[in-house]
């Protein structure tokens, strides 16, 4: 019994395990229902190309939600920073233009995030309102600046930048998948092993506690939103460079998807706890649903329904297997066993079990 318990404990401690199971199940299900698509490597390579921009957003959002805040402006940043990059690259047609464009795109994301942070931390605007307003403002500004048009930046294909960010490793694997993976690993360490991540967790847990243990709450919030802005800027780069195009509504579709990826990954809306690993798998689940459902041949009309079903199931699974419940469940099963046995011996062993 003791060994069983310790195996359960180890399993429970593996971060993001339930959600990894969901992803595996999903791929197995797709492989059965659409074998000619899901047994080849191409579909997975296409996921590795389409998911990373959304994954990068979801990683940043994991921090924001762990801190007990929310950011709804990141999808506008994907458009705004993408525009800044495209505009600069097109206007200054030089060899260094793409590099400076990248810096400017990241800086513009940082600026948007910094302003969000100021509004939230210094003025005390609830983050949902501050970032909702920002979402409208920055996407509106982007449309104005771009003149409502898409900008073609085909020239980027010949630039080394294109190869670095969105090239194909060994001719098949999209480079952005490695960028997103590397970022996920780095951000896991930041959240779980860095002073900043610890401050984020305590902040989301209870801001009063954070304050009395000496965390600078305002500064941490500003840093948090700035980081989210930079990541959204990076996401914009991955998207714009891959597509060779900037368009004014780019990123809009990511808003709900990224939020869903974070929540099905097991990060709690209540704040204080967040799972980068969960978000990573969550993003791939969310990003695989549409293509998967279409590939099974049941028709595009089903995508939304199945997506909803999978999201619901993932969240339920996460709660059922979450901290405490899992142990209680396994305890209860064991106590049933004991009750059954004690009935046969005539003594109540279950009482001993309750006492311990």
């Amino acid at each position: 019994m003791k060994r069983e318990r310790s195996i359960l404990l180890v399993l429970r401690k593996l971060e993001g395990l339930p959600i990894a199971l969901v992803l595996t199940t999903l791929y197995v299900a797709f492989a059965i229902t659409a074998p000619n698509v899901f047994t080849g490597y191409r579909i997975y390579m296409s996921f590795l190309q389409t998911v990373p921009p959304m994954l990068v957003l979801a990683l940043g959002l994991t921090f924001v939600i762990t801190a007990g805040e929310i950011d709804l402006s990141f999808s506008a940043v994907v458009a705004f920073s993408g525009f800044i990059f495209a505009w600069f690259f097109k206007t200054f047609d030089a060899s260094w233009a793409a590099w400076v464009g990248i810096l400017l795109a990241l800086a513009s994301g940082a600026l948007v995030g910094y302003i969000n942070g100021l509004l939230v931390a210094k003025i005390g605007v609830p983050s949902i309102m501050a970032t909702l307003a920002a979402q409208f403002f920055w996407s509106g500004l982007t449309v104005l600046l771009a003149g409502g048009l898409s900008w073609n930046i085909k020239g980027i294909q010949d630039d080394i930048i294109h190869a670095i960010f969105t090239g194909r490793l060994f001719g098949v694997v999209p480079a952005q998948a490695f960028w997103a993976l590397g970022l996920a690993i780095f951000l896991w360490f930041v959240l779980n092993r860095h002073r900043f991540g610890e401050a984020i967790m305590f902040l989301g847990d209870n801001p009063n506690v954070a304050r009395v243990v000496g965390i600078d709450v305002e500064k941490t919030k500003i840093q948090l939103f700035t980081m989210m802005g930079i990541l959204a800027g990076f996401s914009a780069l991955l998207l714009t460079i891959e597509m060779n195009t900037f368009w004014t509504t780019q990123g809009q579709g990511y808003l709900l998807l990224a939020l869903a990826a974070v929540f099905i990954g097991g990060t709690s809306i209540a704040g204080g706890e967040g799972s980068i690993v969960g978000t990573f798998f969550g993003a791939y689940i969310i990003g695989s649903l549409e293509a998967g459902v279409v590939a099974t041949g049941i028709g595009g009309y089903w995508t939304s329904l199945v997506s909803g079903l999978v999201m619901g199931a993932s969240v339920v699974l996460n709660i059922l297997l979450g901290e405490g419940r899992f142990l209680r469940l396994s305890k209860r099963i064991q106590s049933w066993g004991l009750v059954a046995r004690s009935k046969s011996t005539g003594r109540s062993l279950s009482q001993d079990n309750h006492g311990s």
Binding site: R193, H194, G272
Partner: protein, 262 residues
């Protein structure tokens, strides 16, 4: 005479005043706490105890007055929670000292982590020391609680124990306990009082704030009584019985002492 005493005091407050706008929260507070003394700070709600604690622990500065910690004068312009920690003042609040959803080991070190360069936390070392504090300083034994447990799994008394243990580990000269036994069962209160005894044994000073006179009487060497922002009495334990102290407090609660205070 005063100057000679400074060195022996863990804390000296001189003419501390605090106004919130026009409202007087603290008026003319002079308070000393000896190096190994436990002072019970008592008073009804609104007496100014919490305001006093917040000034002491660096949450906000007073409007005027001076504060000395182990003889060192505090500069209020740069005084904050972290500064209070470096001066040796640790505060344990009734319910906001620990992050509920966080692991115990994080709670021991949050705000002053042991880090590698670039601010990454040395988890192994933090856990080792947290383990040591739990077993040696606060004496948690085999209760199914490890450094990896979440705080939410702990009872109210154990939480106070963790907070007090943390304060002792960081070699606080003065530990301020703000209503540490509120909403605890009698058994848990007993545990907390044991922890406070450990503070005394370790040679450090403590301000114990409560409005449960019974607890305060058991633990404190001296009582300081506050009412409406002022210190109205200082009584040594040997000069008063629990019953007399209770009656004394009741008199204030009923406003019978108003004449003397105004």
């Amino acid at each position: 005479m005063l100057d000679a005493r400074v060195e022996n005091d863990a804390l000296r407050m001189v003419r501390i005043e605090k106004y919130f706008g026009l409202v007087v929260a603290l008026r003319h507070i002079d308070l000393n706490v000896g190096r190994n003394e436990i002072v019970g700070l008592i008073g009804d709600n609104g007496a100014g105890k919490s305001t006093l604690v917040k000034i002491l622990s660096g949450v906000f500065p007073p409007t005027s007055g001076e504060l000395y910690i182990v003889g060192q004068k505090v500069d209020f312009r740069s005084y904050n929670v972290k500064q209070a920690h470096t001066h040796g003042v640790e505060t344990v609040y009734q319910d906001k000292s620990l992050g509920e959803k966080q692991d115990l080991w994080r709670n021991f070190f949050v705000g002053r982590q042991i880090t590698y360069p670039l601010g990454f936390i040395n988890v192994k070392k933090e856990k080792e020391i947290a383990e040591e504090i739990m077993h040696k300083t606060i004496g948690f034994r085999g209760e199914g609680i490890t450094v990896d447990s979440k705080v939410s799994k702990l009872s109210g008394g154990e939480r106070q124990g963790v907070a007090i243990g943390r304060a002792m580990h960081f070699e606080a000269e003065l530990i301020v306990l703000d209503e540490p036994t509120v909403a605890l069962s009698l058994k848990e209160v007993g545990k907390v009082l044991d922890f406070v005894h450990k503070i005394k044994q370790s040679g450090k000073a403590c301000i114990y704030i409560s409005h449960d006179i019974q607890d305060v009487y058991e633990i404190a060497d001296r009582f300081v009584i506050m009412d409406r922002g002022e210190i109205v009495a200082r009584i040594l334990k040997q000069d008063i019985s629990l019953k007399a102290l209770g009656e004394f407090m009741l008199d204030y609660a009923h406003g019978r002492k108003d004449v003397e205070t105004t």
